[in-house]
């Protein structure tokens, strides 16, 4: 960018760079820096106040006993000792979340992909199908969960009513420790609209000539799907898996609402601390629910901070894993422009 070498070569500009010009340049550079700072200022404030500082404070609080009313008391590693040794709720919560990540998340991605492939091949009504499969995503999570708890309620719910008509005795769904998580999985499969739309757009974006070339070579629809579509849209699939894993790590709303609403003749409001999160039998006590319960029902802020440190470590590992491969899915444009 600098014009200095060019200036020395040209005879009529022999005096190199005048002090006035240099200071003008410096001023311009400062101005540019200030402009960037001004544009970035909302993020700088937001990032430090609502992200950077809380992360540090959280690390500190995790070594204290803190109930929000009195000042935090330093208790060393006691919270972590309890977390990894004493608390009998941690392992079930972790394994519930792992269950969700290992079973519900892959199902979501597969289901969304399958529907997207079928919609992309539909000869008629692709737009209508897309709308129908997307619509449930819009339903507010609380409303959708209430709806599903009703649909699957064992007494008068339509699902078991319909099942009994074809001679099947339906399970207790949200009221059964074995079926509560599968019921939530069904609920999450109902809401795969976003992933489906993303897959659909990616599938329709696959260059036609690739398909035509494969077809000339005698590849059928399935082999084209496997050898053409899949490799071409793999960044999008990776992206969707990442999104689903992140959502799975923070899975809270549906499990919370279901466990407060599903018990037969549910008494007590959702805010009532007597409500047992994770109903039935802790089978829906996912890790974020445990964190919420400790932090905001029992006000064990210090211990909840320790719980969230563990979540931080895990999600940071996932995030870094993703960011290392970021150029595969993020349009990370650097010096190129």
């Amino acid at each position: 960018m600098s014009t200095a070498p060019a200036a020395t070569r040209e005879p009529y500009r022999l005096p190199p760079v005048s002090p006035a010009r240099r200071s003008a340049k410096r001023k311009a550079a400062w101005r540019r820096r200030l402009t960037v700072l001004a544009f970035m200022s909302p993020w700088i404030v937001g990032f430090s106040v609502f992200f950077g500082y809380p992360l540090i404070d959280n690390a500190y609080l995790s070594f204290t006993h803190y109930d929000l009313l009195s000042n935090p008391v330093w208790i060393g590693l006691a919270n972590y000792k309890y977390l990894f040794g004493g608390d009998s709720e941690v392992w079930p919560a972790v394994s519930n979340t792992l269950w969700f990540l290992g079973i519900a998340v892959p199902l979501q991605v597969l289901f969304a992909f399958g529907i997207a492939v079928m919609v992309s091949r539909a000869r008629a009504g692709a737009g209508i199908f897309r709308t129908i499969f997307y619509l449930p995503t819009l339903a507010p999570t609380v409303a959708a969960t209430l709806g599903f708890v009703f649909l699957f309620n064992p007494g008068t719910g339509p699902v078991n009513t319909l099942l009994s008509k074809i001679g099947i005795t339906g399970p207790l769904w949200f009221q059964s420790p074995h079926w509560a998580k599968p019921s939530l999985t069904l609920l999450s499969l109902w809401g795969i609209g976003n992933a489906m739309v993303i897959f659909l757009a990616a599938i329709l974006d696959v260059p036609k000539h690739l398909h035509e070339a494969a077809e000339l070579d005698g590849a059928g629809a399935l082999r084209r799907l496997w050898y053409v579509t899949l490799p071409t849209i793999s960044p999008v699939i990776l992206f969707s898996i990442v999104i689903a894993v992140i959502a799975g790590l923070q899975y809270f709303d549906q499990a919370y609402v279901a466990s407060t609403v599903a018990p037969p003749g549910a008494a007590g409001g959702a805010g009532d601390s007597s409500v047992t999160l994770g109903y039935p039998d802790g089978s829906t006590l996912f890790y974020p629910l445990l964190l919420y319960q400790q932090g905001f029902s029992y006000f064990n802020m210090g211990y909840a901070a320790a719980l969230s440190m563990l979540l931080l470590v895990v999600s940071l590992a996932v995030t870094l894993l993703v960011l290392r491969n970021a150029n595969r899915w993020v349009h990370a444009q650097g010096e190129g422009r």
């Binding site: 008629a124 129908i132 499969f133 507010p140 923070q250 609402v257 609403v261």
Partner: protein, 294 residues
Amino acid sequence: MATAVQVRTPVARRTVPRAVRRKRLLVAIAEHSVLIVLAIMFIAPFVFIVLTGLMTNAQSLTSNLWPQPFDFHNILEVFKEAPMLRYAWNTFLYASLATLGLVLSSVPVAYALACLRWKGRNLVFIGVLVSMMLPPQVTVIPVYVMFAHLHLVGTIWPLVIPNWFGDAFSIFLLRQFFLTIPPEYADAARVDGCGEFRIMVSVVVRLAKPAIAAVALFSFLLCWNDFWGPLLYTLDNPAHWTLSVGLAQFRNLYTVNWNLVMAGTVVFMAPVIVLFFFAQKAFVEGITLTGVKG
């Protein structure tokens, strides 16, 4: 369109053997049937929710599926049983204030990340990505403590204020879109002596209207549907409940009748679905924006 097809037909085409054609037809029929069955399953919950919402009290205790008679009264009953209008107003206030702040604060940041060149830009972008991907539970306790010290717990302000300082996901989306705008536009304006702020407002923002609309739409919906935030901050103060929190209490506090709960659910879902049909294009474009390389 039609002419384009006609132009192509004279080109010699491979004739497809009849057996292959029949097989293709059968596959197409099979696929469409699966699609239709799945579509019915996706619609069914809505149908049952609405139908139950229109049942009488007595009937909602039975396992009948069809309301006899239709009781449209329930919708009104919901507003009488719970301060739904109050909840709706709170939700609307939260969603619109948060969205306004989010757009106003995220656009300049995305502009600086996409259209200005400066040292450390990529590093900052990675910071944005990290804060976007970490679950909110990671920072929730100190943030809650902070708002508790400010005596803002029990109001919707803790939900609104952070949005006025840039939202990572929106910054990410807007940056991706701004990068697709040819830099020549901005450069031309710069040569003409236009300041960066004016370039952003009158060049980039104008070209990025669809993306900004999508971001605003998503933000509004996310807030409208949000449960985690309002649960955390407004639970102790029913005057500030949003629809999410209000509805979650509905079954417990007011009634054991599924018909009223479902009527409430319908009232909560309806605005969003109406909005979708008005702004379907913005939705689909917006979602696609998130998934496809910018």
